[in-house]
Amino acid sequence: MPDTESRLLHAAQGGDAKAFEKVLRPHLAMLFAYSKAICGDFHAAEDVVQETAQIAYRKLNFLIPEADFAGWLKAIARRQALAARRSLTKTNLVADDVIERVYQDPAPAASGRRGEALTECIDSLEGRAAVAVKGHYFDGVKLGELADRMGMSPVAIRQLLHRVRVLLLECVRRRLSAENPT
């Protein structure tokens, strides 16, 4: 556990909410993404993040100094997100182990070169693709509503998002291979 983190956690364990906010903040984006991957809903994921913070704060004294704080938060978020998923849908979680692998490293996913390349590719999106990504990922608009807004059928919007995903992967691959032709 980094020094600053352990100092802040120590303060938070003494009831310092500000210290807890500081120590939690760097993990919030990962927690949101992880929760959304599990529960499958933007707004429910926000609820999960809030619940996770609340539980973590309340149970902070159970966190031993050697423990991995991010991993501990993730474990709380997982349970909350599964419960949220259960209240939203009865569908089983698909590719659970893949999700765990993808979220193994708590560091921001966009921090490596590959992540940067993806960020650049996202920025380069235009037209309907950009609107769909912004609406779905950044504004949390439900697909049905997004389809209405964009004058598309629900099936078409799903297909569009799928095409955008494939397009982004291809874009990242191209950028990375252009940097490292070998």
Partner: protein, 564 residues
């Protein structure tokens, strides 16, 4: 089972990421991903991409997220402060009565000592003796009774503030923090009127309940979350009593987990450690153990789950039932090979029957054994088909035949505790339906086309009740529609409905009605009064499990693989 091509799987993956995949497709996709390495690699890339996008979105909304976090922390602090300070409602204000009495006594004494009736000396009358009638220092009035104060008008249940209502609850580690947004109710809860309706929950009037020591508190109408939370506060407070009296740590732990208590919780950790080290001895315990381990982590605990399966298979009676169970020496010889490095998901671990159980058992143990076997099956344990067939045969052959309806038509038929002439009743019929559905599911058959299942559902619908265990209870002189094993029945009804896959039993919305009945029956301390033949601790567990819809639904019929 239907299969996906790689293109379909990739589109399905996108739908899964968008949270719009249907249940059958999700199962087919999962099966495809287990077999197809290129699609798994793509899934990993898609999930990574999704992570980046969602993290960017979260960064863009960081202040909103932080504001919500701040809000919940403030609330937590308030709750903590409330828990530390004694409640003003029950705290006695400092009493000055004794001071008044003492002052009065001193004055009277002084008056007696100084009084000289014959004396005419006026100087004495000028003595500085205060007038005892003087109300002198400010005398606080006796504390008014709490019950005299009119309680604030309770808001509708769904808008109740999320803070636990009393310090007792606040002190306990409530299982689920309540979000800033109004509490989400999974279902609209109907009124007590038992007619099919979709009316929203009616706010019951405030109930006055005795809180002991002459005090009275006003019980507020509760939300579902609050009912679960106070039930859990009660169970947590009674955990040691539970361990001593119930000897069913598995039921308590199963309830904890279903109520949302974290796996990292010290109590959960301690109970889990105990359970994992425990010898497998009794059918109920082993079945519940399998359920909770599969729910926690079916990969991590697969070996223990295989041992549970071995125990259950070895304890099956010759007639297909289960009895209370005896240890099986073959449990220790269960081998689960280590995971290959690149292996994904659970392994298939076959279990075979290695010894015979006794001749007969009972339907209660049988229904729990099958719940345990369902969990083992979901954890990749390949169960002997003959055992499941035998169990199914038992349930089919012992279903009542009193309705006079001949196959293939469906009549209201059910089960009692074993094979005899007793009429069917609620708890056993609910258990029978759930058990047969599980047998069909494991054997890859369509339980929606199973006549005996349909007959059982027909019976439950025709005799639908969430206030009594319907039918003649055979262990209490055939008392009709009694309270015997009522909570056990409620949890059985929950399982039957969820496993069968229906929100309606006999045209009744079983879940909202169950919730309403259970919330109404909960006592101020969070417990449920033991039903006849039940125990307060077990019944509180059953009530919480029912409220939490603890049973995991089965995959759609269409996606179940038929077994040859």
């Amino acid at each position: 089972m239907r299969k996906f091509s790689c293109d379909e799987a990739r589109a399905g993956l996108s739908d899964a990421l968008a949270g719009v995949i249907g249940r059958p497709e999700a199962n087919v996709l999962e099966a495809h991903l287990l077999e197809c390495d290129p699609c798994r690699s793509l899934a990993e890339l898609f999930f990574w991409q999704d992570r980046v996008l969602n993290e960017l979105a979260a960064q863009a909304r960081m202040e909103t997220l932080m504001a919500r976090v701040r809000e919940s922390l403030t609330r937590t602090n308030q709750v903590a402060v409330a828990a530390e300070e004694p409640s003003t409602r029950f705290r006695r204000r400092p009493s000055y009565g004794w001071l008044v009495a003492a002052a009065g006594f001193v004055l009277v004494l002084a008056g007696v000592l100084l009084w000289k009736p014959a004396s005419k000396d006026n100087s004495l009358t000028k003595a500085p003796v205060p007038d005892v009638r003087e109300p002198a220092p400010e005398i606080p009035q006796p504390e008014p009774q709490d019950t005299v104060q009119s309680p604030p008008e309770p808001p509708p249940p769904e808008l109740l503030p999320p803070v636990p209502p009393s310090p007792a609850v606040a002190e306990s580690n409530s299982p689920k923090p309540v979000p800033a947004t109004p509490v989400r109710q999974p279902e609209p809860v109907t009124t007590k009127n038992e007619t099919p309706t979709s009316a929203p929950i009616q706010t019951p009037p405030p109930v006055r309940a005795s809180a002991g020591a002459g005090a009275e508190v006003v019980a507020k109408p509760k939300t579902l979350d609050e009912a679960v939370r106070s039930g859990m506060a009660y169970l947590r407070a009674k955990a040691s009593v539970f361990a001593r009296e119930s000897k069913n740590d598995e039921l308590l732990l199963w309830t904890y987990l279903q109520a949302g208590v974290q796996e990292s919780d010290p109590e959960v950790q301690a109970a889990l450690k105990l359970i994992l080290e425990k010898k497998l001895e009794k059918t109920y315990n082993v079945a519940l153990m399998a359920m909770l381990l599969e729910d926690l982590d079916r990969v991590k605990y697969q070996k223990r789950l295989a041992q549970c399966a071995q125990f259950l298979v070895d304890n099956q009676c010759a007639n297909g039932q289960w009895h209370y169970g005896d240890p099986s020496i073959f449990v220790e010889s269960v081998v689960v090979p280590p995971l290959p490095p690149k292996f994904k998901g659970v392994r298939k671990v076959p279990v075979t029957k290695k010894r015979d159980g006794p001749a007969t058992g009972d339907n209660s143990n049988t229904m729990y054994a099958l719940l345990g076997l369902r969990a083992c099956n979901d954890a990749g344990i390949v169960l002997p088909a003959a055992s499941i067939e035998l169990a199914a045969k038992w349930w089919r052959e012992t279903q009542s035949k009193g309705s006079g309806v001949k196959a293939p038509a469906v009549g209201a038929e059910g089960w009692c505790y074993s094979r005899h002439d007793h009429k069917p009743y609620g708890s056993m019929t609910a258990g029978g339906v759930g058990s047969l559905v599980i047998c069909d599911y494991i054997l890859g058959r369509d339980w929606k086309k199973d006549r005996e299942v349909a007959c059982g559902m027909e019976w439950l619908g025709k005799n639908f009740s969430v206030t009594v265990n319907p039918g003649p209870y055979e262990h209490a002189n055939m008392e009709e529609n009694s309270q015997h094993q009522y909570y056990y029945y409620m949890y059985g009804l929950e399982r039957a409905a969820i496993l069968y896959g229906t929100e309606q039993v006999g045209g009744f919305a079983w879940y909202p009605k169950s919730c309403q009945a259970l919330i109404d029956a909960q006592r101020p301390d969070g417990s449920w009064k033991a039903a006849q033949g039940g125990s307060e601790l077990n019944d509180t567990c059953f009530a919480v499990l029912t409220l939490r819809k603890a049973t995991r639904a089965l995959p759609d019929v269409a996606t179940v693989t038929p077994k040859k």
